[in-house]
């Protein structure tokens, strides 16, 4: 499994070129990534701040306009009391004309107590004869209709309502002000971004410099495979910590590398000089073959392998010999290691198949070890019997299995000779046993006949006695006839 396969799915490069990919992907150098991050952050910050300011400005200006109208209306109403009471619209119009100082106000009217237009400052000729928005009995009422703020204020003299002030203001002035604000903010934002670009291009080196130095050091170490090289300390703070950690990691790697080399050397020495036959075999291909077989739905492997010897032979041929020691070369009558590296096909004979099947099953089911008495032939065709012991790797490990073989050919021959003698003895014992059994049977027959004879004798004696003849004691057939 290589690095690409271990990469999480979410980090796999795709064909799209999103902002995230552009910034965080592999397409940009760290310098450009840092600058991009700073610029994007600055832009976003400026945009959010500007938007918030514009929104706040809009609401603040609108509220200010509402407050302005709300404070202006009572002032107009108080000043027009006499005009309303004495019916002097000219005076009211003069007072209303003072709203010209406020460009946002497009209509200022006074309606009498009946809600009829009394006086107006109406440059756009939009005044209605009747009060368009009824005021509350004692409070102002305002609303927004089609971008126009309308406000009515009841005018009271003592406790009596004598009229209503009605004002309309549109948002043109506010929109124009917001447009000016937006232009100013845009200019400021542009300047801020230019400044941010200049500063980020200068200050990104504080971070990217040490990182690039580390990267260059790592690249050099990788190329020359010299773990004695160390990164230079060019910055303080976290970067210094990073460099220290990197160098510390190199120290650890160097120590482990040395230990690994020593271990490898020790292992190779043990491997090469061992009296027992040792093999290093690559089983990745055969393990994959067995997994494919399981994937095809073969559940009874043993039976399948027994029924398909050609599969066993093909799978056995997929085991690749990576290394052997001198004891192995000697055991298999080879001239050198090279004679045994590669395929094992030439070492197998039909007698080897049962063990090969078991070995394949062990690989398929994921066993960690396997041992059996294996029968092979040497490169010279000599049949040998070996006690095979195999250490199998896990699936996530390097697919190299260590196999040891102990030649037990002579021992097996001795055992077979002993078996032959034992079998011969067994046959002799069995023969003698039969004969003995016959003798016993014969003896047993005599005793039976003796018992029968005694019985007959007994009966004869009884008949003789009945007949008045007394048999001689020692010889039942002899009788003495006693005179009666």
């Amino acid at each position: 499994m290589n690095g690409e396969e271990r990469r999480p799915a979410g980090n796999e490069p795709d064909q799209g070129f999103s902002l995230r990919d552009r910034i965080l992907g592999d397409k940009l150098t760290i310098r450009r990534k840092l600058m991009a991050i700073m610029l994007v952050t600055s832009t976003l910050t400026v945009f959010i701040a500007s938007s918030a300011f514009i929104a706040f400005s809009w609401f603040a200006r609108r509220q200010a306009l509402e407050r302005d109208l709300a404070s202006l209306a009572p002032a107009i109403g108080n000043t027009c009391e006499v005009a309303l009471q004495f019916g002097i619209p000219d005076d009211a119009e003069r007072i209303l004309a003072t709203v010209e100082a406020r460009p946002a106000i497009v209509l200022a009217c006074i309606y009498d107590a009946d809600g009829q237009l009394f006086a107006a400052h109406d440059p756009e000729s939009r005044a209605a004869i009747a009060l368009p928005l009824e005021a509350g009995p004692d409070v102002d009422v305002h609303d927004h209709v089609n971008g126009v703020l309308r406000l009515t204020h009841p005018v009271h003299l003592k406790t009596r309502r004598i009229g209503t002030v009605y004002l309309e203001a549109d948002m043109r002035e506010i929109r124009a002000a917001l447009g000016r604000d937006s232009l100013i903010l845009g200019g400021v934002a542009l300047l801020a971004l230019v400044g941010s670009y200049l500063l980020s291009s200068r200050f990104q080196g504080l971070i990217s410099g040490p990182i690039l130095g580390l990267a260059a050091t790592a690249q050099t170490i990788s190329e020359v495979e010299d773990h004695s090289i160390r990164a230079e300390m060019t910055a303080g703070g976290e970067m210094a910590t990073l460099v220290q950690a990197f160098n510390g990691m190199l120290d650890a790697i160097e120590v482990r590398d040395s230990a690994l080399v020593a271990g490898e050397k020790r292992y190779q020495t043990l491997f090469d000089t061992a009296e027992v036959s040792l093999w290093e075999q690559d089983i990745s291909e055969v393990r994959q073959t067995m997994q494919e077989l399981s994937a095809q739905g073969v559940s009874d492997l043993r039976r399948y392998l027994e029924e398909h010897p050609e599969f066993v032979a093909r799978a056995a041929g997929q085991v690749r010999v990576v290394d052997v020691n001198s004891a192995t070369v000697q055991l298999f009558d080879g001239a050198s290691k090279d004679d045994l590296l590669g395929s094992l096909d030439s070492l197998f004979i039909p007698e080897s198949l049962p063990v090969i099947r078991e070995k394949l099953i062990a690989i398929a089911v994921g066993r960690r070890s396997f041992a059996a008495e294996a029968v092979h032939q040497t490169l010279t065709g000599r049949r040998i019997v070996a006690l095979l012991s195999m250490a199998l790797p896990r699936e996530d490990e390097t697919q190299h299995a260590i196999v040891s073989m102990m030649d037990i050919t002579e021992r097996k021959a001795t055992e077979e000779e002993l078996d032959r003698h034992r079998n011969h003895l067994t046959e002799l014992v069995e023969k003698r046993t039969v004969e003995l059994r016959k003798m016993v049977n014969l003896m047993a027959g005599r005793e039976v006949r003796m018992a029968e004879l005694k019985e007959v004798t007994k009966k004869l004696r009884a008949q003789l006695e009945e007949a008045g003849m007394t048999p001689v004691a020692d010889d039942p057939l002899r009788v003495s006839i006693e005179p009666s």
Binding site: T79, C80, E81, V82, A83, L84, Q85, F86, G87, I88, P89, D91, D112, A113, D114, F118, L157, K158, T159, R160, I162
Partner: protein, 226 residues
């Protein structure tokens, strides 16, 4: 159509006397007044009613010194109490505001609807006192507002002298009324009833006139100079 009936019609049944009078005032003043009646002679009934409404409105836009009417409300036309400044239109229940008319009464029953009744805007009962033609010894100082009709032109100096220095708002309708010491003079200008003010006289009587009255006056005499 009399003042009261017109008031009723204009007020649309709002019910309160003061309101009726005020609304009627606005309606008629806006409609204009019959020309050629500056001296008060030959006024049409409607013009008289407007003039009556003006007198009522002057009460709303003037302030009298405190204590000038103290103790009066319960006793009607009692003697004035000690000086001081207070709003004559007392908030006390049972108080009264007095309009005095000297000379031939031109108003007929224009005040009939409101006379002797409590007025919410004034905060007191409105009393109309018709003195008739002026005679020496008449007690005019009990009034808040004294209207001197055009028929009393000859007695004008005596009348004004009788209330001189006292907090009585004098309103007239004769030429030269202000010059003789009167405070507000009604006149017709451009077919509308307007007024002119002798601010110095009002000030001397410690009566404060609303600035809007001054602003809308045809003429204002300050410091005794017209």
């Amino acid at each position: 159509m009399g003042f009261s009936s017109v008031v009723k019609k204009s007020a649309r049944g709002l019910g309160r006397v003061g309101v009726l009078l005020t609304l009627a005032c606005v309606a008629f003043a806006s409609a204009g007044i019959t020309p050629g009646t500056a001296d008060g002679a030959g006024l049409r009934v409607r013009d008289v009613e407007i003039k009556a409404a003006y007198l009522y409105n002057f009460l709303l836009f003037a302030e009298w010194p405190e204590g000038a009417r103290a103790g009066e409300s319960a006793r009607g036309f009692g003697p004035y109490a000690a000086s001081g400044v207070h709003r004559v239109v007392s908030e006390q229940a049972g108080s009264q505001t007095v309009i005095g008319i000297v000379g031939e009464d031109p108003f007929g029953d224009s005040f009939a609807e409101v006379e002797g009744k409590y007025d919410e805007a004034l905060g007191s009962k409105l009393v109309i006192v018709r003195f008739g033609s002026y005679r020496e010894g008449m007690t005019l100082t009990r009034c808040h507002l004294l209207f001197v009709t055009a028929s009393e032109r000859r007695n004008l100096p005596s009348i004004l002298r009788a209330v001189e220095g006292r907090p009585v708002l004098t309103v007239g309708e004769a030429a030269g009324f202000l010059e003789k010491g009167g405070m507000i003079n009604l006149l017709v200008k451009r077919q509308k009833l307007r007024w002119e003010i002798n601010y110095a006289a009002a000030n001397e009587a410690r009566i404060q006139l609303n600035s809007q009255l001054l602003r809308n006056a045809v003429r204002v005499i300050e410091n005794g100079e017209g």
